[in-house]
């Protein structure tokens, strides 16, 4: 057969054209059907990075469960613009290098159309540049670091929730409102980027709005620590007016239980901007009268949701399946799913019903406004989501076997978010104490 110019039933010319096309496809980052503006895909594949192992899985798994629930709902309703969606989960547990490898695999081998990444700020910092490099629309669905869009600009990465600055600043403003005369504070934060950065934000804003507060202790136990007895003894001895902890997951659960056993809650007011996600797990070990946040305006008993029916539906379908009320990673996942749906529909509509390229889809996320279970979120021109913040005080009610929130303040997103083009570290220094007097009215708990 030598010299016939055929390999099997393929001519040499066909083979060359095929090889060229394959090469071109490989050259195209990711090379999905959408990248070539091809016909409607058979399914929309979504790569989702979340914690499926390690201590953070107490948090990542509810996110995955929410994605499964909402993807099923979308598919039952006929998909997005008539196309079914399929999640492909990858584990953040093994670390940043693993997630980066998985990101590339999802794009280059699985041919995913979108990526949701990630819970860890370190993973988001690594994935955002990859989004631009591989030209794959990426929704940063849960990570908190404010540095992503303050230090860089991306065309393919968008955050579908707030960032650390509004989340921490809202908690400080609430503290200044309800306990304005506090004179000393101690911090017990996890020893990694979030624990350190969130304390920097809190301290910077506190030094601006209420200078002269004494920092009694700065304690940073290991991420994933299970024993906080030494830190608790230290804080008990120092008797600060306020204890701040931006910890979360199993670490926060253990800290709350151990602090409760050692009566620390009786001596100091705790401020815990992420503790909404622990309320159901720690139950009434967390006493009344302490300040809790939800990294956004998420709470299953939100006092004034934009669409009460939507929130009720979300709460009940999650509870029916998992025998728990949704916690904030569930809400963050719901936001990413909502952004994906509204974004694709917007891009398809802009194309007059045709299918968008990756670049066209990415462009659709800029300035996108999409509904969340409690309000709506708008993605600014820099890629950062604008999301309201809910902070409240714990209350023990007979209706629930865990603390609920009362005296809730829902901070409008714009009032606590660093403006486009500015860095939080600088912006926080420009705040003025009159901010506290302009806070919205607190709302009491209603079952």
């Amino acid at each position: 057969m030598a010299g016939t110019g055929r390999a099997g039933n393929v001519t040499r010319r066909e083979a060359l054209v095929g090889a060229g096309a394959a090469g071109a496809s490989l050259m195209l980052p990711g090379g999905s059907a959408w990248a070539q503006g091809a016909a409607k895909p058979a399914e929309i594949k979504v790569g989702i990075a979340t914690y499926l192992s390690g201590p953070a899985s107490v948090f990542g798994v509810p996110g995955r469960q929410t994605a499964e629930l909402l993807f099923d709902e979308i598919n039952a309703a006929g998909g997005i613009a008539g196309v079914k969606v399929r999640p492909i989960f990858v584990d953040e547990g093994p670390g940043v290098d693993h997630v980066v490898g998985e990101y590339r695999r999802l794009v280059q081998s699985e041919g995913v159309h979108l990526i949701f990444a990630a819970i860890s700020s370190a993973d988001c910092i690594a994935c955002a540049p990859l989004a631009d490099e591989l030209k794959r629309p990426t929704l940063l669905w849960d990570c908190g670091t404010q540095r992503i869009f303050e230090d860089n600009r991306y065309n393919y990465a968008f955050r579908t929730q707030a960032n650390a600055t509004p989340e921490i600043l809202a908690a400080l403003l609430y503290l200044l409102k309800v306990k304005p005369d506090f004179k000393s504070i101690a911090v017990i934060n996890q020893d990694y980027a979030w624990g350190r950065d969130s304390w920097d934000i809190f301290r910077t804003a506190m030094n601006t709005l209420k200078p002269g507060v004494k920092v009694s202790a700065e304690l940073f136990p290991r991420f994933g620590a299970t024993d906080f007895s030494t830190e608790i003894t230290r804080v008990l001895a120092l008797r600060p007016d306020v204890v701040l902890s931006t910890s979360w997951g199993g670490d926060l659960d253990a800290l709350i239980r151990q602090a409760s056993d050692r009566k620390l809650f009786e001596r100091s007011t705790f401020v815990m901007p992420l503790a909404e996600s622990s309320l159901q797990r720690v139950g009434k070990a967390l006493p009344a009268g302490h300040i809790v946040g939800a990294r956004g305006d998420h709470w299953f008993l939100h006092p004034s949701p934009a669409d009460p029916e939507r929130l009720k539906r979300f709460n009940e379908s999650y509870r029916a399946k998992h025998n728990a009320w949704p916690i904030y990673p569930c809400f963050h996942m719901a936001q990413a799913v909502s952004a994906m749906k509204v974004g694709i529909e917007k891009a398809v509509a802009a194309k007059g019903g045709g299918w968008p390229t990756d670049a066209e889809l990415a462009a659709a996320f800029k300035g996108l406004e999409f509904p969340s279970p409690t309000a709506s979120v708008r993605i600014r021109e820099d890629g950062q989501g604008l999301e309201n913040q809910l902070i409240g005080t714990t209350l023990h009610s007979d209706k629930y076997p865990f603390p609920v929130l009362t005296d809730m303040i829902v901070f409008p997103a714009e009032s606590v978010t660093t403006p486009v083009g500015q860095k939080s570290a600088d912006w926080l220094k420009t705040l003025t104490p009159d901010m506290v007097g302009k806070l919205p009215q607190a709302q009491a708990f209603k079952s």
Partner: protein, 310 residues
């Protein structure tokens, strides 16, 4: 004078914290060291046995509580759960896995126990899910003790103040007695020192190995069970424990029982003083102690290759 008095009290508080922490770490590290002494295997899956011991204790305790069991019953339940885990998993792992790895390269043994650790981690998630599990009835039942602090008082849990150090001390005493003064203990020591010679003298080395591994597994499970009332059991709890246990074992010297107690105490006190004096070094202090010891004594504080290891 007032400064001295206040700081003296602070040192006292740090000692109490350090003692309780050391006790918890010792329970796990001593089992790891015992197993290494006889099997010559650094068992990474020891961390999983710790976690499973904790989960089992919490599950049994919560089940008993749901049936209306009195809170004091929680304490014997912790012990029973540890024995159960040790007796069920110990022989199973030793017989099916470690015995087959007996004469293989140490690095292969390490990899195999690491693989087992990963499998058991997934098994935990399958059985107990990812939600934190807590069983704190015994801790609440024992209540708190106010330790004087100048004009003030610092509440400690009685569990932390008495039960953890008490059980650790009792474990150390029982192990030391059994190994020195009982026939079984002497057989364990004989196998540790020279397996072949022990066999030649008629000792059933395989039986001794299985017994030792079962006890080691039980000690890991007891560490987890004792921790259950104070911590939230979550996926990954075994990984952090095994890393710290390695630090204790390396500091003590491989195969050293009393050495493990001293090393745990050193690391526990070092950590609590770090929290008091220079909290930014809290995480590194245990490993800094280990490195400092290994720099001057590569065999660990008590490790002497020529003499018996237990």
């Amino acid at each position: 004078m007032a400064w001295l008095s206040e700081n003296g009290i602070l040192v006292g508080l740090a000692l109490l914290d350090g003692l309780s922490y050391a006790a918890a770490v010792f329970m796990v590290a001593v089992g790891l060291n015992l197993v290494f002494g006889v099997l010559r295997v650094l068992n990474v899956a020891h961390g999983s046995l710790y976690a499973i011991g904790g989960y089992a204790a919490a599950s049994i305790g919560l089940f008993a509580a749901s049936l209306g069991a009195p809170p004091w019953l929680g304490l014997p339940i912790l012990l029973a759960a540890a024995v159960l885990v040790g007796v069920v998993l110990g022989p199973l792992i030793e017989r099916l896995l470690l015995r087959r790895m007996q004469d293989r390269e140490p690095v292969l043994q390490l990899l195999v126990t690491f693989a087992l650790f990963m499998i058991l981690e997934d098994l935990q998630k399958l059985v107990w899910g990812v939600q934190p599990v807590v069983f704190d009835a015994p801790l609440k039942w024992l209540g708190t003790v106010d330790v004087p602090f100048g004009q003030d008082a610092i509440p400690f849990t009685a569990y932390q103040l008495y039960v953890l150090p008490g059980v650790a001390l009792a474990t150390l005493a029982i192990l030391a007695y059994v190994l020195r003064y009982t026939l079984t203990g002497r057989m364990v020591v004989a196998v540790t020192v020279d397996r072949e010679a022990a066999r030649a003298m008629g000792i059933d080395a395989a039986k001794v190995t299985m017994l030792t591994f079962t006890v080691g597994a039980g000690l890991a499970a007891l560490g987890g069970a004792l921790a259950a009332p104070t911590v939230s059991l979550v996926p990954g709890v075994g990984a952090s424990t095994i890393v710290l246990s390695f630090a204790v074992v390396a500091t003590a010297g491989l195969g050293q029982i009393e050495g493990a107690a001293v090393a745990a105490l050193l690391i526990g006190l070092g950590r609590s003083f770090a929290v008091y004096v220079a909290p930014e070094f809290e995480v590194v202090v245990p490993y800094a102690i280990m490195v400092a010891v290994l720099l001057f004594r590569p065999q660990g504080l008590f490790g002497v290759a020529e003499t018996r290891r237990i």
